[in-house]
Symmetry: C2
């Protein structure tokens, strides 16, 4: 079958199956999640065998070592995926929650109820564990899922999805709810983005290019996730030692993730004192610093930051540093160059903190803490399908509730409008 | 200035002004709304003079009388617009509401807070009162607004927007918050849909063609509103008199609006008895009926419904009628042909009612009531910017809360991630 017909067939089947899935009790869904975890562990070796094909292909293509590292599956990572599914089984089912309700003067009873979207499409890159995460979260929230992972992990993703769907269908989940597109051509993604008859929402998860491409071309509503150009601003009234600790943590604790900082902004009044302190801490972690002219006057010999550096999401041990005249300049810099993900201020000044919280237009705005906390688990959501950097529907870490929509249910006894 | 530069300039200015607007207290916003209402009434004659240009143009173009009727402004309608603004001033300000919050084990305090979108773009058709509604609701929810009304009402819309912005700026609302595109070319709309640097959300309000075109082309997140192919299903266990009353109300009380029904579905077991009863009631209102073969066996001489009729949003005194074998067939018909707006069942059977509520995939699902209640006012939201028929962000009538997004605010004392 040609790719278009195949993808559309998958989407149609998944959408049809979602009708049955949407009404299932949490008990049935959780039993399926436990069975999926069990089968994943049981079939671990087969999955790892498929994963080796992806690794070999990546090595043949001379992919960088840190990229290959992200691809690798081993018994520990298989167990982690299984544990992830068991954890989702332990979360509260969002479906059926009555968000609000009232009895109107005319006697109508109106309830706003949480219901699944229907069919969620995920377009993602690299790490194969996203396959298990996405399937688990979509199933628990009552949604069918259509997956399309990156070509570099195609064998691993398909193997994982097949095991998960086999386990689910054993446990009364409607057949067709879990679908994976095994075609690695660009065409497959294009077809998905036009299948608005079946797909209710598309979630791209990966690099900035992937997200922009989906956002620009999709006819289906998109939830943008993940692009993170995060900032730390150290104010003139900051606890400077706290500033160093938070800066080093936010940059180096895990530099390859979206909530790590990429730019440090420093108030001019403390720049002479703070910059050498920060430099010392960052040097220990081999962070490359790229500075504005004022920064380079204090830290001799560092590289010059260009306009592109302020926009950059390095995802690496590189930090752009800029000295600002005021907190307002810091806020304006963040709103201009940032990706509206997570930004933090270090200050002891009440009014400056309030202004920063109010005026920085980002999903998560911090005072005196590391941006690395932007995460579904750290926020107490239990799990996370991604971090939304858009304003529509969901903003910040998205858990199970964010994978649902609502529906108004209205009960009457013959009311008509006058 | 060429149209592109002008529209982009408006968007940029509106976005910049939104920063100041987002932090204003309800008191200041409400004072501005009252002043807007006052000035609208004071300048009523000037607005009506501009409106006459639109009417004359419409008459010259031989626009149908009911379309012209929608365009007309007179002192009563001006007062209604002013009263609408005063009503919005009386509503609770959604900005700053703490939606949820917690203290995490590591001491971080996390709050999810309601904040304005920033800049809302409205693309709409016909009735000039939408201009005042949109400006009032956007202002109260802390959003700048970029308006682009239909060419048929361009003079009226521009006159209203100018009066409203003059009044707002008199009362400490940041200059630039209210912008209207006075260019009637298609180009202006295309440019808006690409201005994702400034516009946070686009709300099209009008016919199905307008909505589809914006949805397909916009790079900015869209909230679809308004297309309404609504259904009434009269079950075999229905109170037939209630069925007739609700059917006649839902079809005829105001046929030109999106929550009026376009198709009646009737269970075969009651078709012989119910259809003549309904026919009698509908005939009194001069409703044209287009029936399926089974309907035409009962109601002799009526027109035949074609496949297109099941998809049609007549917005007129026409009703498509189909006899179905089961409630499931009715549900499937609605999910296939409907626009996911509002659908109602008349039944006394508990299980059938529950199944209909669960399985009809629409924004508003009714038991034993007219679909005409789908409305912000009737649902107790106080006001309405439109009725969303999509699943992302908002579904059903949208009030002030639906014109906001959220932001996470995180307060710490130096926490770092381990």
């Amino acid at each position: 079958m040609e790719v278009k017909a195949r993808v559309v067939k998958m989407a149609r089947e998944a959408k049809e199956a979602s009708r049955g899935l949407s009404g299932l009790s949490a008990k049935i869904k959780d039993e399926a999640l436990f069975r999926m975890a069990e089968l994943l562990e049981k079939k671990g070796e087969e999955i790892i065998k498929e994963n080796r094909k992806d690794i070999k292909y990546a090595e043949d293509k001379d992919m960088p070592a840190h990229m290959i590292e992200r691809l690798v599956l081993n018994p520990v990572r298989i167990t982690e995926m299984a544990e992830g599914l068991r954890k989702v089984a332990g979360l509260k089912d969002p479906v059926g929650e009555i968000v609000s309700g009232c009895r109107r003067p005319n006697g109508l009873e109106i309830m706003k109820i949480r219901v699944p979207f229907g069919l969620v499409a995920m377009i993602y890159e690299s790490r194969p564990n996203v396959t298990a995460d996405a399937v688990g979260l979509c199933l628990k929230s009552g949604n069918s899922v259509l997956l399309r992972g990156g070509s570099e992990a195609i064998n691993s993703n398909v193997a994982i999805a097949r095991v998960l769907s086999a386990a689910a269908y054993e446990r009364h989940i409607p057949r067709g709810c879990i679908q994976i597109v095994d075609d690695v051509s660009r065409d497959a993604v294009e077809i998905m983005m036009l299948a608005d008859e079946y797909i209710d929402v598309i979630i791209p998860r990966g690099g900035a290019d992937l997200i922009r491409s989906v956002k620009d071309k999709s006819k289906i509503p998109v939830i943008e996730t993940g692009a993170g150009n995060c900032h730390l601003y150290v104010d003139k009234e900051a606890d400077l030692k706290m500033g160093v600790t938070v800066c080093v943590n936010a940059k180096t604790q895990r530099p390859g993730v979206c909530n790590a900082i990429e730019t440090l902004l420093v108030h001019k009044d403390i720049a002479n004192k703070f910059l050498p302190m920060a430099y010392q801490g960052l040097k220990d972690h081999r962070v490359e610093i790229r500075g504005c002219p004022d920064t380079r006057r204090v830290l001799k010999g560092i590289k010059r930051a260009t306009e592109e550096d302020w926009y950059a999401e390095y995802l690496d041990l590189i930090l752009a540093v800029k000295v600002v005249d005021t907190a307002v300049e810091a806020i304006e810099h963040i709103n201009k160059y940032g990706s509206r993900h997570s930004d933090s201020i270090i200050t002891q000044n009440y009014n400056t903190a309030r202004q920063f919280l109010r005026e920085v237009d980002s999903a998560c705005v911090y005072v005196n803490a590391s941006t690395r906390f932007t995460d579904g688990g750290e926020f107490g959501l239990g799990a996370e399908i991604g971090i939304s950097t858009q304003k529509l529907h969901a903003r910040g870490p998205m858990g199970l509730s964010e994978l649902t929509t609502t529906k108004y249910v209205i009960l009457g006894e013959g009311q008509i409008r006058q």
